[in-house]
Structures are given as C-alpha cells and as structure tokens.
C-alpha cells in the first residue's frame, strides 16, 4: 500500500465474481462427455482452480507419453515398420478446462474417480485456488479431491497468467475492429512485453500497472463493472442472467434510450468535435413520461444502452489511468468482456476516443484462463521460465469463440506443450518487435483462406493414407486415422467460420495443426520409411555427384550448387502436385533439375549471390534445411561442403520433431555420419566442429524466427550468412523477413495457386539474396 489513495478501488478489484455465487451447491447437472474434456486426467500431477461466479477453470499438469520411432542408420534389411523400434517420449503438458460453475461438483467427482495413476500420490498435497469462489468452495474441493486448498491472491494470479500468455502463446493479444478486415488484428510477439496496464473487469473493475515479471501495482479501478451490468440489467429488463442480457443487447437500439449529441444540438457539435451520434447522456431519453410524452424503448434497447454505458465508462476510466501513468497499452481480462464483439468494440472505441488515439486497447485470446494459469504457476517448478517454454497444442485446444454465438460449447479447453528450452527471438532479425513470420494472413485475405482451407481438406486423405500405411501391423490404425480425419476436417470447417479462433490463420498454423493431430492420434512419423529410403538412395548417389561437381570450373560449380539446392527442394511430399509425381517412382534428381525453369526466376538474385562469392568467405553460415533424401543429401550437403572448404563454419538447422518428409535433427545426425564416411571434407568439418547440426525447435515445416531454442539463438549471434531453404520456411514464412546479416532464401514453389498468386508459374523459383543491414 503506497498511500490511502490506493484503497479506493483495491477492494472492488480483488474479488471479481464472488457476489454472483449462488447459495447451495448444485450437483445434479449432467455433464457432457467429460472424458474428452478432462484429457489425460489419469496422469494429472498437480491442480489449480479458479472459481468465478459463472465460470470455473481447472488447471492441471500431466505427462503425456508419445511414441517416437527411432531412426536407425545401420540396418541390414530394407526399412519397414516390422523392424522399427519405438521409444516412449514423455512430454509435459498443461491442461486448462473451463466450464460453468454450476458443473463444479460433478467435475470434481469426475476428476476424483479418474485420478487413476495419481490418486495415492496426490494425497497430502494441495491445490492452488483463486477467484471469488475459492473461499466458498474450499471445503467442497478438499472433500472431493482430498487436497488441501491454498488460496492465492487473485490479482497476482491474473498478472502471472497474463505475463505467461504474452510470453509463450503466439498471437495471444489482439486489437478488435468490429467492422474491419481482419476483425481480429493479432499482435506480433515482442521481445519486451512490459510495461502495460491490465484492466480486469469482473464485478467491479481493477486496474493494475505491470512493469516487470515481479513488479506490479494496483493503481485503481471503479465500482461500475460487470456486476453493475448484471445487477442493473436484471432490474430494468426481463433478462435472466448475464448471457441473456448480452443477447438482448445484440438486437437493441440504444438510441431509443440514450440522449445523443444530435438530440441536444440537432446535429454534430463541431466546435467541440462531438459527432451527432455520440452519446451525450446515457439513458437520457428515459426521463419521466409526463415530460417526454413517452419515449419508446424496449428491453433490448435498454440492455444495449446499459452495455454501452458500462463499456464506455470502463474504457474512459482505463484510458485516464493509462494516460496518468504514461502507458500506451492496455490488456483486458475478466468475465465481463468474454470475447463479446459489442463490448470489445465499445471499450476500444472509448479508449481510442478519450486517449485521442494514444492508448491502444488489446484483448487476449485466453483471457478467461489468466487466473487459473497464474494460480498454477505459483511455485510450479514445472513451469520455470528460465528452463522451459510452452506451445499451444492446436489439437487439444478449443480456440476462441464469440460469446454471442448461441450454443457456444459450455466447456473450453486449452492445452500447452512444454518445450524443453526457453524460446528466443532470432538475433539476426532486423526488426524483431515487428517481425511477422507469415507471408499471407489468411484472416485478412479471404481468397487465400478459402483456397488453403479447401486445399488442406483435399489433401487430408493423402496424410491419412500415409499415416495408416506407416503402421501396417497396428490393429487400431484405421480407427485412429478415422478420428484424426474427423478432428482435422471439423477443425478446418470451424476455421472457415472462425478464422481468428487460434490467432492469425496461416498456412503455418494449418500445417502445425496437422502435426499436432498426427501426434495426438499416435502417428508419430508417417514418413519415416519414405525418409529413410530416400536418404539411403541419395547417399548412394552422393559420392558420384560430388565428383561431378568437383570436375566443374569454380564459376560453374558455384552456380550449380545453388541450382542443385533448388532441384533438391523439388522432393517435397508436402506439396500435393509433387507428391503425385514422386509416387511415380521414376522421378529422380535429373528430372527435378529439368523442372527448374529457365532464368530469370520469379525472384532471381543469383548473379548478386555469385558476385558476393567473389569476395571474402563467410565466417559462419546457418542453413535452415527442409526435406529428406535428395534435398538434404544432394542439394544441401554439397553446398555445405563447399562452404566448409572455403573456411566457413556451418550450422545445419533441422526440425526437432517429424513434420512431413522434413529431415529431423536425429535423422540429420545419421545422414551426416553416413556422408562423412563418403567424403573427407565433410568428415573433417564434422570432426573439427566446423560443421554442426542443431534443432530448429519448430513443430511443423514452417519457421517462426521469434521462437528459436535458446542455444540456437545464441549460436546465431555470430552468423554472417543465413540460408533458409524450402517453401515452408522461405515462402509461407520469412519471404519478406529482413535480417541484419546476409541472407539467401532458396525455394521452389510447388503449388500452382501460390506461384500464380506471387506472379509466377508452377515451380517458380525463389532465389533471394540480401546483404542485410542494421
């Protein structure tokens, strides 16, 4: 407490929802299919709960086992599933389940009866609890789960949760434009999230200034919040409950109840810059009938007027606090907004109006989970931000819904997978704060959205076929594949209506979603056989190919090395049209080279690159590689070998987990070993650590340079040449990214639509060299 002025709104904010808790504990409400909702409960390790008046959020931590196929190099017989060895990899996962508080007793019962593995180990432990209902339900929780209840300060939990989301979750924050395209303008991740103002709108409103991970201050609030909307709304309309009030407000016309500027002035009041439709006096037309001759208004009109009154006021007061503390960013949380378009629009309008555009109002995709996340994080060493980072699991999360959507699921889920390293921005980005990985924003570009959603739906059968084929001895593969297909297709359909549900809709997020789903349904690596086969075929050709290259003149060789990388990049099972060609089995490196179009290419900086090579060799290059087989072995390795022979150190960055036929880190190690056995230059470079392999830290075949493993980010600091290869990493993402060092982006566009969209033809070539600048 700094001064007595702190008292003012401290109390209203501290408890946000307690006053709406009904007496009596409901227990007879039947749950929907709970198994689907409380996933992996049997392995739950720790719990936290955030109980609000209308919604409760339960958080738990579990270890999820996934099968991983071992990629083994030395095999006598041809690779097939029979002689694969699987390893179990345990990954940590955070689960958040949101449900209506009226289900609380049932949910607790369900959890208790399903804590199969951990019932014993849970006894004597505690559950962190926050939210207005934590006091009221403490004994119920203790009794049902056999856990003692640790109550945590609500504001502290909210802030912890907010920091966690802003740091870990892509596209967490968005600016809302009700009539804009896109409607949801997601904010790019920024290396520094502080300082900001967090406005929590519960029953009352509390306003916190957050300056760092550990320092925040309650600076104020107001008593006029969600509770006022609910309470007054219940008095002046017939609506029963909060959501009904919101629905009423959706169809009302506030102009029948509010006095507008034009009602007083007859039009705009230009001198003060007050537009005719601005509300001058909320409810100002609802004066005594005797005096007005009876204003005509309906319940819906009143509900809308009330929603505007409260939302405008919250925005106004929040903007005054922001200006007072010289902050330009406000995040909103709490049960009042719940992604309701009209409320978000009004709050945004008000903040923009009163701050004259100097303060920006942002909302959070997971605002409902702030408290539960924060409570869970309290003392959770599983979440140490120095050691780990977290990734939204698109397969297990339900995404953002508009609260006005009727029949919105009463349950919501968020699942986060732990990544065993903190993630960092690529240090070579020219403007990290404004870095956007994705080339096309499918939220804003409807044509592109329609194309890609249809394209992914069409290709789903190919993925499924390959997934099924990858496990010929499994008895459950058909059933799992069917579920996988249903899940993915229904997700595509959901995204068609709600492109904003998981942040910016991009080709990258669609590809990542496939990988999440494949893993979730235990198809850990459908392309394993294919990858191994292709790697081995390519390795067999490597020696001869290197000899051919060595026979060329230096000038021709330099050019040929680039063309080879491009030709190798044709071997991409992720591209629908190429996959068909590859299936013909007669498609080889030569055919690929023939398919590379004549120059000039769509983006053609080959001459600049060759000219650059006349100069000093690079000190250290990082190459983000793409496909297995011909691509890595006959394209990337000769290029790498040449760089090494010039005295350039090389880091080959491969995907951490399987994604399509991309070469993974563990596969790359095997390939390098095999290549070293063939070629002394590569062998020497490997031996001297002048050539190393590292993990990219990506889930799918695209590249988000704001989320690199810390050790890679550290290594990249001394890199003076960045090579990014392939459609996923250099076209779908990073095509327009700028760097502080030299960069070379090489890719063949194996999608007719995309090639045309970018102004080229099928197999258009991107060869983009940039000198980079600071």
């Amino acid at each position: 407490m700094q001064s007595s002025s702190e008292y003012e709104f401290l109390a209203p904010g501290l408890i946000t929802e307690v006053d709406h808790l009904r007496t009596g504990l409901p227990s007879s409400i039947k749950l929907p299919d709970t198994l689907e909702i409380f996933r992996n409960l049997k392995n739950a390790k720790r719990f936290a709960i955030d109980i609000g008046g209308s919604l409760t959020k339960i958080a738990y931590y579990s270890l999820v086992s996934h099968r991983k196929v071992n990629y083994e190099a030395e095999k006598d017989n041809a690779p097939n599933e029979e002689n694969f060895t699987y390893a179990l990899s345990e990954g940590a996962r955070l689960h958040f389940v949101k449900f209506e508080t009226k289900y609380i007793a049932d949910c607790l019962d369900f959890i208790r009866s399903n804590l199969v593995n951990s019932k014993e180990s849970m006894s004597g432990k505690s559950i962190k609890a926050t939210g207005g209902g934590s006091h009221k339900y403490a004994s119920l929780i203790a009794e049902k789960l056999g856990l003692s209840v640790d109550k945590e300060d609500e504001m502290e939990c909210l802030i912890k949760g907010c920091n966690f989301l802003l740091r870990n979750i892509s596209d967490e924050a968005f600016v809302y434009h009700r009539h804009g395209n896109p409607e949801y303008e997601f904010q790019t991740a920024t290396p520094n999230i502080f300082p900001y103002l967090l406005v929590n709108v519960g029953s009352g409103v509390s306003i916190m200034k957050v300056e760092s991970e550990d320092s925040y201050e309650r600076i104020g609030g107001t008593a006029t919040g969600g509770g006022t909307f609910w309470g007054l709304g219940s008095l002046i309309t017939k609506a029963k409950g909060f959501d009904e009030l919101l629905q009423l407000a959706e169809r009302g016309d506030h102009r029948n109840a509010d006095m507008l500027v034009k009602d007083i002035y007859g039009g705009d009041y230009k001198k003060l810059g007050l537009p005719a439709d601005l509300i001058a006096s909320s409810f100002g037309k609802v004066c005594p009938k005797r005096e007005t001759g009876g204003a005509q208004y309906t319940d819906a009109d009143l509900a809308r007027s009330l929603l505007f009154t409260i939302s405008n006021d919250i925005g106004h007061i929040a903007s005054l606090y922001a200006m007072m503390h010289k902050l330009n960013k406000i995040y909103f949380g709490g049960y009042f907004l719940r992604n309701h378009p009209l409320s978000m629009h009004t709050v945004s309008f008000s903040i923009n109006y009163w701050s004259r555009g100097t303060v920006q109002c942002q909302f959070l995709r997971h605002e409902g989970y702030l408290g539960a996340i924060g409570a869970f994080l309290k003392g959770a060493e599983e979440c140490d931000s120095d050691k780990y980072s977290w990734l939204e699991n698109y397969a297990g999360s339900s995404g953002l819904q508009k609260s006005a959507d009727s029949g919105a699921a009463p349950f919501g889920q968020l699942e986060l997978d732990r990544w065993e390293s903190p993630l960092r921005f690529c240090p070579l980005l020219k403007d990290p704060a404004n870095y956007i990985p994705d080339t096309v924003d499918l939220n804003a570009d409807q044509e592109a959205r329609d194309y890609w959603l249809a394209c992914f739906e069409e290709s789903v059968n190919k993925y499924i076929e390959r997934a099924v084929a990858s496990q010929p001895y499994s008895t459950t593969r058909e059933e799992r594949a069917k579920q996988l297909k249903e899940k993915y297709v229904s997700r595509l359909h959901h995204l068609k209506e709600h492109p904003f549900a998981f942040g910016n809709l991009t080709v990258r997020s669609l590809l990542d979603t496939i990988e999440h789903c494949l893993r979730e349904f235990d198809f850990p690596d459908p392309f394993l056989v294919q990858k191994q086969l292709e790697n081995e075929c390519a390795i067999a050709l490597l020696k001869e190919w290197l000899k051919e290259l060595d026979a060329l003149s230096e000038k021709e060789r330099r050019k040929e090395l680039v063309v080879s990388v491009l030709a190798g990049n044709m071997f991409d099972w992720g591209a629908k049209e190429v996959a068909t060609m590859l299936e013909s089995q007669t498609f080889g490196f030569e055919q690929a080279r023939e398919n590379i179009p004549d120059r000039p290419w769509l983006v053609d900086c080959l001459d600049e690159w060759l000219e650059r090579l006349e100069g000093e060799p690079h000190k250290k290059a990082a190459i983000f590689i793409d496909n297995s087989g011909v691509d890595v072995v006959l394209g990337i390795l000769p290029f790498t070998r040449w760089l090494c022979s010039r005295g350039t150190k090389v880091i080959l960055c491969a995907n951490s987990a399987p994604a399509l036929n991309d070469v993974t880190y563990s596969e790359l190690l095997v390939v390098l070993k095999q290549a070293a056995a063939i070629d002394p230059i590569l062998a020497k470079a490997l031996h001297n650590n002048d050539l190393v392999a590292m993990q990219q830290g990506q889930v799918g075949p695209c590249l988000d340079l704001s989320r690199l493993p810390r050790d890679l980010a550290e290594e990249l600091k001394t890199v003076d040449l960045l090579v990014i290869e392939g459609m996923g990493r250099a076209v779908h993402t990073n095509l327009n990214s700028e760097f502080t060092c030299e960069s070379l982006k090489l890719a063949v566009i194996k999608n007719r639509w995309l090639a045309q969209k970018l102004g080229g033809q099928m197999f258009a070539v991107i060869c983009k060299y940039e000198k980079g600048n600071t």
Binding site: G220, K271, S282, C287, R290
Partner: protein
C-alpha cells in the same frame, strides 16, 4: 435617464444587436428589452432575466407596456405553466449587467416544454418586442429555426464553455457567498456548508453535471480547455431512477434517494471480506462507511435480493453510482491537469446535498486532502448568465 424614444426603439429593433454604445454621449442605450440569457440543455432550459432598476417608460408607448407586462409576469410569479419555475432564492439584486444596475431572475423549465414556452412568449406579446435572445447550449442550435419561425426571434448563439466560465466568474464576483465547500461531508450531524473565498480562482477544474458531464480545465478568464466528459450524468441518474422506481421527476428521485440506503443494492467491501480486510490495508471504519467503493448494484443479480429491495434504496444506489463515477473521473482529470480545485456545477447538484457531500468526501479522501471540491450556489445557471453577459461577444 432611461427614456427611450419610440423612434430609437424602432431603429434598434431592426438591428440584430440587443444594445449598442452611443459613441456621442457615452450613454448606453438599450433595446430588445427585456434582457434574457438562455441556456437550452438536453433536459433543462435555464433562463436568466435581467430586470433593470430605475427604469421608466413613456406611458403611452405600447411596446413599453408589453415590457412592463412581461416584467410583471416574470417577477410576480414563481411558477409558469405546469413545469416552469423561478428559483426565488437565487435571485441576485443590485447587480451590474453591461453597465446597468438591476435584478437577475432565474427561471428553468424542461427543454421538452419548449413549444409551451414559445406559446407563452407569443401570448405575452414578446414576439412583437424582441428580435433576438442570447442563447447557448445545444438547443441554441436545435431550436434556432423554431424560434425564428414561431416568434420571429433570432437566437444569438453564445459559446457554451465561454458562457459557463463567464457566468461562474460573474456570480462569484457579485455574490460573496456564491462559492462554498462542505466541511465534514461524511458526518450527518456536523456536516455544513462553508463559504469559500474564490477571488483568486486560477487554475481550477469545472465539472459541469447536466444531462451529461463536461470537464474543463480553466487557467485564466479566456484560457481553458475541455479535458474530458462522460455520458453518465444527471440524465443517466434520472433515466435509471425512472426505470427502477417509476418516479416522475428529478425532485422525486432525489427525495427517494434521501430516504434510501445503497447497502441493500450494492456490494460493500464488508459484504465480501467479512472482517478480514485488514490484509488489504483497509481501515474498518472506512469499510463500514457507505461512502466507500462498492460494486454498484452488485447484489441485484440475485432474484431474492431484487424482490426485497425498496424504491428508495434503488434510487440511492443509482445516485451513489453516478456520483462516485463522476468523482473518479473528476479526480483523475484534476491529477492529469495538476489542478487542486475542482468546482462542481450543473443542475444535477440542485437539491442534491447527497451527491455534493459524496463528491466532497471523495475528492478529499482519495487525494489525502490535496484536492478541494467546491460548489456554487447558482448551480446550473452559469451558462445562461454567461450568455447574457457575452452579448457583445457573439459566436
């Protein structure tokens, strides 16, 4: 002195100007008598009438007779029609307006009754007499055409904020008890009004609470800016009270509020924390106080509480909610502008000591005594006074 020939009257009446200075003899001639200043707000119209002293007319002058009649009608009555009122207690005697000594009369009526006012003006023969009336407020724009067509009167539009500030300064200068504050605003028994010396006013913040609210920062007589405002004002209080209690007037709403208690409507801090609020550093007596921050209408989500609540309590809760909200905004504006004196005006404060005391308490408490809430006796009439004074400063 004071005799105006018929010829001069006729000449002057053609002019849109309500008076002019005769450069030859330095005497001030008047036309367009009587003098009115009008502030047409969203809910109320405020009318200031200046009655000059020592003024006689030639007995046979028909127009003079009309003037006398109007004066008589306005000054002998305190109610006009069903909804017009003259605030006798606010009357200002022996004030100088544009060089003339006289009495200022303060009249108000609902803006929705404008057509009746115009009819009355017609019936009293005003249309024959006056060519222009100084007016401010939104209605000066909105009713411009109506006045011209119905009574052949031109509304001389005066700047709203100029008029407000000039009116405030005029009232304070001419009335030694104009400005006051509430001492001990929290205590029912010891609380009382105290005169405040506002002769060195700058800088100050004006919070004008009419149907809506405007907040101005004033640094000098002609140096001010509108810094904020809110649509949650007197109109919101009255509108919500009508919906919640079925009351029929502002006065009735205030009476209900006076008898009510917001504790059964709002959620108080002690309702939430029981006795356990020491942890949050809140002294018990503050928590017990109905002046403290609450969740407005926080108990009303429950049907059984709604069924049990009284009209009086609802009116009180509405009043407290609106007032506290205005107080918050005013306090932050004062802090942002680094101004310590906050003058609350506007008709929302009429017959409304509850709000004034709440505001006084809030300003003092949240600022550790650095902010001072000030009030003016002529609450809502400053725009009208100012428009009368600013008659030579047309917009």
């Amino acid at each position: 002195m004071g005799k105006i020939s018929k010829k001069t009257m006729t000449k002057l009446r053609r002019s849109p100007v309500s008076y002019f200075r005769d450069t030859k003899n330095e005497d001030i001639l008047f036309t367009a008598m009587p003098w009115f200043g009008m502030d047409i707000g969203g809910t109320l119209t405020k009318l200031v009438y200046f009655e000059p002293h020592n003024y006689t007319f030639e007995a046979d002058d028909v127009e003079a007779e009309v003037l006398m009649n109007i004066r008589k009608y306005l000054t002998k009555n305190s109610a006009y029609g069903a909804t017009g009122h003259r605030d006798i207690h606010l009357q200002m005697d022996n004030v100088m307006v544009n060089g003339r000594k006289g009495t200022l009369h303060f009249i108000r009526f609902p803006t929705s009754e404008m057509h009746n006012f115009i009819e009355l003006a017609k019936s009293k023969g005003m249309a024959k007499l006056v060519t222009s009336v100084c007016a401010t407020g939104g209605g000066a724009f909105k009713f411009e055409d109506t006045f011209r067509q119905e009574v052949n009167v031109k509304l001389e539009k005066r700047d709203e904020l100029d008029s407000l500030i000039q009116g405030m300064l005029f009232a304070d200068t001419n009335n030694s008890h104009e400005c006051y504050y509430w001492s001990d605003p929290k205590e029912e028994d010891s609380c009382h009004k105290m005169t405040y010396d506002f002769s060195q006013p700058y800088p100050f913040l004006v919070v004008n609470i009419g149907s809506g609210v405007s907040v101005l920062a004033v640094y000098g007589p002609n140096d001010y800016k509108r810094v904020s405002g809110t649509s949650l004002g007197g109109g919101t209080f009255l509108g919500l009270c009508c919906l919640l209690t079925g009351c029929n007037s502002f006065e009735e709403a205030i009476e209900l509020a006076t008898l009510g208690d917001n504790k059964s409507v709002d959620k108080l801090i002690k309702d939430i924390y029981g006795g356990d609020y020491e942890r949050f550093g809140l002294p018990g007596d503050l928590v017990a106080s109905s002046f403290l921050g609450v969740f407005s209408f926080g108990q009303m989500a429950l049907k059984e509480r709604r069924d049990a609540v009284s009209r009086e309590d609802l009116a009180r809760a509405t009043l407290v909610t609106i007032t506290n909200n205005i107080g918050s905004i005013a306090r932050m504006c004062a802090l942002n502008e680094k101004i310590n004196r906050v003058v609350f005006v506007g008709n929302f404060l009429r017959v409304n000591p509850i709000s004034m005391r709440l505001l006084a308490y809030a300003m003092d408490f949240w600022s550790n005594g650095t902010l001072k809430a000030l009030f003016l006796e002529h609450e809502g009439y400053f725009g009208a006074i100012g428009s009368l004074l600013a008659s030579d400063d047309r917009v």
